[in-house]
């Protein structure tokens, strides 16, 4: 056991070392930079040199790991942007062509956003963000710059539901663009991918149509005005009918790609839309004129209006989806009932209140 003197001596030594270290630390603290920096430099370049080298390498590795994370994030962002770019380009193109159509129609129409309310209805109906408040009622034709989409089935003040040409109830009296053949266009009710084609039925046997012939609405009926592009002939379908031909049509519009549509108001239907779809050259020139217009304020305003309207309708669609999610829990007042009740029900082009030229397309 150490003696009391030895312990006291050790204690004094410890205290002395502590005081010495503290004093040296304080001196280092109060030293001016021009005197302290050389000491620090000597320590860094001698004792700490290998350790600082290792530290630098570790920081390099750390930076590489972080940079890889950033690189992966940038790659992901670029991939996401690349994935959305074609869709944006297609939408931009559709809007430009819609502006061209609006220029050709001049008046009597309403431009609206179309969307597909998943879960509420089927693939053959679309919801349109305008309704009876702007004059859109049942049997209002729905078109795009490419041609006929369908017609409004039901109309609320701020929203409408339209059937597309693929709906089993769809039908439009049609003719070839050169008016050499007339018939009724109906959906091609088969299974498989051909379900999204059309049929031109009841064409007189003497009228033969070549592949690629443009088929437009004939205006024989009060729903669709004359001259709306419906589709082009693909081939003739063999049938048992000996007195008439049936042709398979490629539709002008694919409803699944719709974003904005034009609804033709009664005044426009009565006034006709001749040469709007059939005169392709004028359509292209009109579109180019709008795109290349030096005063783009109107175009920007129209696009902004469409964007704002789309935002409103997206929120409406979201609320509708929320309602549809609640539907299994009980009847929700805002949910539309299914629109296709009788699957096979032929609706003639002409609505009941109007007069149909007798015995032409029945």
């Amino acid at each position: 056991m150490p003696s009391r003197n030895a312990r006291g001596s050790s204690s004094r030594l410890d205290t002395g070392l502590l005081l010495a270290c503290c004093v040296l630390s304080v001196i280092a603290l109060v030293l001016p930079d021009r005197m302290g920096v050389p000491f620090a430099t000597i320590i860094r370049r001698t004792v700490l040199a290998p350790l600082l080298t290792v530290q630098g390498q570790s920081e390099t590795v750390r930076a590489a790991i972080t940079a890889r994370d950033d690189d992966l994030m940038i790659r992901g962002t670029a991939a996401a942007q690349a994935a959305t770019a074609p869709a944006l380009a297609a939408e931009n193109d559709a809007l430009r062509r819609m502006l061209g159509l609006a220029g050709r129609l001049r008046d009597g129409f309403v431009v609206a956003e179309a969307f597909h309310p998943a879960g509420l209805t089927d693939d053959f109906t679309i919801t349109i963000g305008v309704g009876s408040a702007v004059g859109v009622n049942a049997f209002t034709p729905v078109v795009t710059a490419d041609g006929l989409v369908g017609m409004v089935e039901t109309s609320d003040p701020a929203r409408s539901v339209a059937i597309t040409w693929a709906h089993p109830d769809f039908g439009v009296s049609a003719m070839s663009a050169d008016e050499s053949a007339f018939g009724i266009v109906k959906p091609h009710l088969v299974s498989g991918p051909e379900r999204y084609l059309l049929e031109l039925r009841g064409v007189p046997f003497r009228a033969s149509l070549d592949s690629g012939t443009l088929i437009v609405s004939s205006g024989l009926g009060a729903t669709y005005p004359r001259g709306i592009s419906i589709g082009t002939v693909i081939s003739e379908i063999p049938t048992t009918e000996r007195w008439a031909r049936t042709y398979l049509l490629k539709p002008s519009v694919l409803p699944s790609t719709l974003s904005a549509v034009v609804l033709l108001l009664p005044s426009r239907v009565a006034g006709g839309v001749s040469q709007v779809w059939t005169d392709v050259a004028s359509a292209d020139s009109a579109a180019r004129a709008i795109v290349a217009a030096s005063d783009s304020a109107a175009k920007v305003a129209a696009l902004e209006e469409l964007a704002a309207r789309r935002a409103v309708m997206r929120s409406a669609a979201d609320s509708a989806r929320a309602d549809s999610m609640l539907a299994p829990l009980g009847p929700a007042p805002t949910v539309q009932p299914p629109l296709i009740t009788p699957p096979i029900r032929v609706r003639p082009d002409t609505p009941p209140p109007r007069t149909v030229p007798p015995g032409v397309w029945e």
């Binding site: 410890d14 270290c21 503290c22 280092a28 030293l31 320590i43 570790s58 920081e59 750390r62």
Partner: protein, 167 residues
């Protein structure tokens, strides 16, 4: 003192110093692990308070030489912490895991308190946040690492003394 114990202590100290300059930059994060504080504390409990003060002073001086300003701050803080740790080693028996964790936590926190108060490098509005939030978090993480090290390599970092050889 047994030379084998001295060798183990020096090895443990060097390993932790090396980890401070290699592993700590690699881990990164807002709450760094202070391996140098662990090294000083584990070394301090093996030696007398005076030697612990010298170890702390030299370690702090090395850290200060890397810093851009406040030369001497870490030296003073480590001197005080190391001396205190060595003086309290009879209380905090380092082979007990719970006490070791508390020992490291308090040592690291005390170092941060002394460093922040002396250096004045932290803005006034953030001193309390630094001392009451970030410093305890860093101290806790350092204590966890200290306990893990003690579990993994008790012969190197433990302080259980070998029984004296009888002649």
């Amino acid at each position: 003192m047994n030379p084998w114990n001295v060798l183990r202590g020096v090895a443990g100290f060097l390993v932790l110093v090396a980890a401070h300059f290699s592993l700590r930059p690699l881990l990164g994060g807002p709450v760094p692990i202070d391996f140098l504080c662990l090294a000083v504390l584990f070394a301090a409990v093996r030696v007398r308070p005076g030697a612990a003060a010298v170890i702390g002073f030299l370690s702090g001086l090395g850290i200060d030489s890397v810093a851009l300003q406040g030369f001497g701050t870490s030296a003073l803080a480590f001197t005080i912490v190391a001396f205190g740790a060595s003086w309290l080693k009879a209380v905090f028996f380092a082979d007990n895991l719970g006490l070791t964790a508390l020992f490291v936590f308090l040592g690291k926190w005390a170092f941060d308190v002394v460093y922040v108060l002396i250096s004045g490098g932290v803005p006034d509005g953030q001193v309390l946040v630094q001392l009451l939030l970030w410093s305890p978090l860093a101290a806790a993480l350092t204590a966890v690492v200290g306990v893990a090290l003690l579990l993994l390599a008790r012969p190197v970092f433990g302080t259980r003394r070998t029984p004296p050889h009888r002649r």
